[in-house]
Every structure is written in C-alpha cells, then in structure tokens.
C-alpha cells in the first residue's frame, strides 16, 4: 500500500480521492435514498416501507403531474431556443467583428456575478402591473393602460430565464466560433458563396458543437428551476419544481416528491439525449 502511494497512479488517486468521493457520495447517497422513498408510501404520520409502484402510478395518471412536466419541458425548450438565438449574434460579434474581445467577454459576464434570486426578483419589479416597464411606458405616453400580459405567465418565465442564462450560451458558442478556420471562410467566398450561404453552409454547421453544449447547459437545470416560476410565473407559469417543493414542504408527501424528482430527472435525460442525436444528425446533413 505504501509502495503504491509512491507511484504516479497512487499519488494521483490519493490526491483526487477526497473530491471525487465527496461528490460521488453526495450523488449516490441522495439518489439511492430517493429511489428507496419512491417505492414507499406516506401514511398519515409515518412512512409505510412496503415496496409499491403506487407513486409511479399516481405520477403517471395524475393529469396535473403530466401537465406540469410537459410544461416544464416546453418552457425549458423555449428558454433554450430564445437564449441561444439571442446569444448567437453576440458571440458572432465578439468572435468576428471586434478587436476588444476580452473587454466584451468581461462586459457580458459581470451582470451574472450577482445573486440569481435578486435578478429574478428584479424582473418581477420590471414586469409588474404597477412595475417599472408599465410606469415608464405610461409616463412617456406610449400606452394609456398598463400592459397585463407582462408578468405571471410563461412569457415572463422565458424572458427572465433567457436573461439568467445569457453567458452560458454566449461563451460556448463564442469558443466554437473562435475555432472556425478563417481559411474555410475565404475559400467559400472565392468559390462564389454569398455571405448568407457562407454562414449557413460553413460557419453554422461548424459551430453546432457549441450550440449543443450551450443548449444542454441551459436546458437541463431549467427544467428543474424553482425560483423563476415561483416569482414571475404566477399560476400559468408554475413548473414541476414547484410541485416537488410542495410535496417536500406543505403537502408532506416525501415518497411522491421523490418519485416526481426521479421522473423529472429521467425525462430531462431522455429529452437531452434525443436533442443531441437529432442535432448531430442535422449538422451532418447540412454539410
């Protein structure tokens, strides 16, 4: 043993073990207990530890669960699409149209060095009925009546999250744009490609890895987001995380909460894999 610790492999393992054990245990432990709970049931005050599929059957048959799950995935999809679409031109601008790359990258990341909770809270104040946006538009005379479609719906959730995730989309796309070989672009022009054609057939396909990375980084955590739907979602914008929180909090039905967490995780994984497979295939076809 002492001899092994002197070797290259032994030292590496010994030094990295605390960190990987810590994460490993805190992934495996909670996940294991979540799986266990999902097969138990909540009686009035106690947990009935007889194994049963009851929670899964309830999760599958309850229309509210299905509705919130589908809505969470749809909202996360819309957030991903909006964030990536809004971020792509910025990443393109920084990669191709400016010399001050470091400055721009710093400028787009600074706002995100602040509390996520406070940024979402700020959007609530901006979009509210008596909020900043409405009062500004009323004072300047653009509108006569406050706009009511701004807050407490899916739109507010998508907008807030498209803001929250901005740098997570810009940075991976920027990195993939930086890697595009400039000679390929010249070649495309020499061979008679218009600017649009060149973008669609050379630049865009080459940046698909960046787009995939950005999409996954945004999509996966967004499905389980709790703060944004709670603060700006209203009843129309509630998501699966709100239901999970209710089970662990007020409803005090942990087994069902555990089941919902697992179902949410499985759905996210399924959609993510589907997305990677289709996007990769699509990228090959364009080329």
């Amino acid at each position: 043993m002492a001899g092994f610790l002197k070797t290259e492999a032994g030292k590496g393992l010994a030094l990295s073990a605390p960190a990987s054990l810590y994460v490993g245990l805190l992934v495996a432990g909670p996940l294991g207990i979540l799986v266990a709970y999902s097969f138990w049931t909540q009686t009035y005050v106690d947990i009935d530890k007889t194994l049963t599929w009851a929670n899964y059957i309830e999760a599958a048959s309850d229309p509210l669960v299905r509705h919130l799950m589908l809505r969470s995935i749809a909202i996360a999809g819309a957030v991903t699409l909006a964030t990536v679409a809004l971020a792509y031109p910025i990443a393109y601008f920084i990669a191709f149209r400016t010399q001050k790359k470091t400055l721009w990258l710093l400028l787009i990341t600074i706002p995100f060095w602040s509390s996520y909770l406070l940024r979402v809270f700020s959007w609530k104040l901006i979009l509210g009925f008596n909020g900043v946006m409405n009062s500004a538009l009323l004072t300047t005379g653009v509108i006569d009546e406050p706009l009511t479609f701004l807050l407490y719906n899916e739109f507010a959730v998508v907008l807030t999250l498209a803001h929250a995730w901005a740098p997570f989309a810009i940075l991976p796309i920027y990195v993939s744009l930086q890697k595009v070989d400039r000679a390929l672009l010249e070649a495309a022009t020499d061979l008679g490609c218009s600017k649009l054609e060149r973008f669609l057939r050379v630049t865009l396909p080459l940046t698909i890895p960046g787009i995939i990375a950005a999409s996954l980084i945004i999509f996966i955590p967004t499905v389980g987001d709790y703060v944004t739907p709670s603060l700006v979602g209203g009843s129309q914008g509630k998501m699966i995380a709100n239901l999970i929180q209710v089970q662990f909090g007020p409803a005090n039905n942990w087994p069902l909460g555990a089941t919902l967490s697992l179902v949410a995780m499985a759905s996210v994984g399924f959609v993510a894999i589907l997305f990677v497979v289709t996007t990769t295939a699509l990228g090959r076809r364009i080329r």
């Binding site: 590496g12 393992l13 400016t98 909770l117």
Partner: protein, 263 residues
C-alpha cells in the same frame, strides 16, 4: 466608385443586448435610493433612509452572520478539496482520472431542486437535522466544480522543474509544497476562495431546503419579498449584496488572471 459604409447592425444589436443584460441588475440600486415605497416611474426624491433602516434588525444580522459562516467554511473546504484534485488531474496520469474529472463537474448539471430535495431526505434519514452544517455540506458540493476548474488552470501553467529543483536541493515533499508550489499557485487559491465564497453567499434553493430555522441571507430575502411594505428595505439589502458579489468576483478575476500569467 461608390463607397458603401455598411451600417453596423451587429454592433447596435450588441449594445441593445448589453442594456437587456444590465437593466435588471442596475434597477435594484437605482430604486433603493428612491424616496417612495413603490418601484415605478416617475421616481421621487433621493434618500438613504432604506439603507439606514437596515441597521439594528436582529434577524437580518443573524442571517448575515449565518451566510458568512457558511460561505467561509464552504470556501475553505471546497478550495482545499479542489486544490488536491486539480493537482492530481494536471500532474499525474492515473486510471480513472477522466471519470473522476467528470464526476466533480456533475454538480453543475443536476437541477437544483433535485439536489436540494434529495439531500434533505438523505440528511434527515441519517439523523442530521437541517442546520448550517447541512447547508455547508450542500454548498461544498455545488462549489467544488468551480474550485477544481480554477485550480486546474492555476496548475496548468505551473513549471514542474521548479519542484524538481527543490527536491534536488534537499527539500522534503511537504517543504517543497509549502515553499515552492503553494506560493506560485497562491493567486489561484485566492481566486478559488473568493469564487466559492460567492457561490455559497448567493445560493438560494439548497439553503431554502437545508437551512431549517437558521436562514442564510438569500433565504431571509426570500421571506421578505412577500411583504410589499418591506420592499424598499429589501431593495437596499439586495443592492448591498449585488455590490459585494461584484466586488468579490472582480477581485477573484484579477487574481485568476495573475495566476495564469505568472508562469
């Protein structure tokens, strides 16, 4: 020949996008000085009373102390774990290195609500009541990927011959680490401490589930958001928090750059 100066659409878009990014962040401080209880235009006069009103609030002070304790312990533990792990990843080739490197990044991609709910269940079934300890355990988990990646880039530019030279000149393993390795990666360590502290200081969902009756600052703010009468005070508190985060992370960025440039 006609010279066509192209209108810089992308630059205009980039500036509009920056406004979109900064507006919500600048809004809180702007209205925290507004002499009115609702957040709307037109603004009333300038006042500092919302800031003055923050002093002497017992629960706020306690939440602040809780957050500081959690942040400091989280930063120290996560940075220590990250320091050793990063050193192993950069310096040694070993079986399972890639698996281990992937594993420590995992906390970044698991939805927060799932981490929070599953940890709550685990800790309670282990007999650990929700408290600052459970929050710290959770925050170290969340902060570790940040510590590892900052420390990795610090070790990346580290010249190994310096260590070998120290060995050859008769230093012990610990002596070399303390007198050669540590001073060179020190800027990386400071950057990691600051970033992990801020991750913990700003974190809400995990603390919301795991803090029990010892709220951290974000959990305290969450409880205040519901009361419209307290809105201006919450704005003032939020502005101070924003300022603290940005200052801490700008400092971290400064040290991070120094750590990657020094080699």
């Amino acid at each position: 020949m006609k010279i066509v100066t192209r209108f810089p659409w992308l630059l205009v878009y980039a500036i509009a996008y920056l406004i979109f990014l900064y507006a919500p962040v600048l809004l809180l401080p702007l209205f925290s000085f507004n002499d009115g209880t609702i957040v709307a235009f037109p603004m009333k006069g300038f006042t500092l009373k919302w800031y003055a009103g923050l002093s002497g609030q017992e629960t706020l002070l306690q939440a602040m102390v809780n957050s500081l304790i959690v942040g400091l312990v989280t930063a120290t533990v996560a940075t220590s774990l990250g320091l050793f792990a990063a050193r192993a990843y950069v310096r040694y080739q070993f079986k399972g290195r890639e698996v281990s490197e992937g594993l420590v990044m995992l906390p970044l991609v698991i939805p927060g609500i799932i981490v929070a709910s599953s940890m709550l269940v685990l800790f309670l079934s282990m007999g650990l009541k929700p408290s600052l300890t459970t929050v710290i355990l959770g925050h170290v988990f969340l902060a570790l990927p940040f510590a590892v990646s900052i420390m990795k880039s610090a070790f990346d530019d580290f010249d190994q011959s310096l260590e070998e030279a120290a060995f050859d000149l008769g230093e012990s393993v610990i002596g070399t680490f303390r007198r050669v390795t540590l001073p060179i990666v020190a800027p990386g360590i400071i950057a990691s401490l600051l970033v992990t502290f801020t991750v913990s200081f700003d974190e809400f969902v995990l603390a919301f589930f795991l803090s029990g009756n010892q709220p951290t600052l974000p959990v305290y703010i969450w409880s205040q958001i519901r009361f419209p009468a307290k809105l201006p005070n919450t704005l003032a508190l939020g502005s101070l928090l924003l300022l603290a985060s940005v200052v801490l992370l700008l400092t971290a960025e400064y040290f991070r750059r120094r750590s990657t440039k020094s080699a």
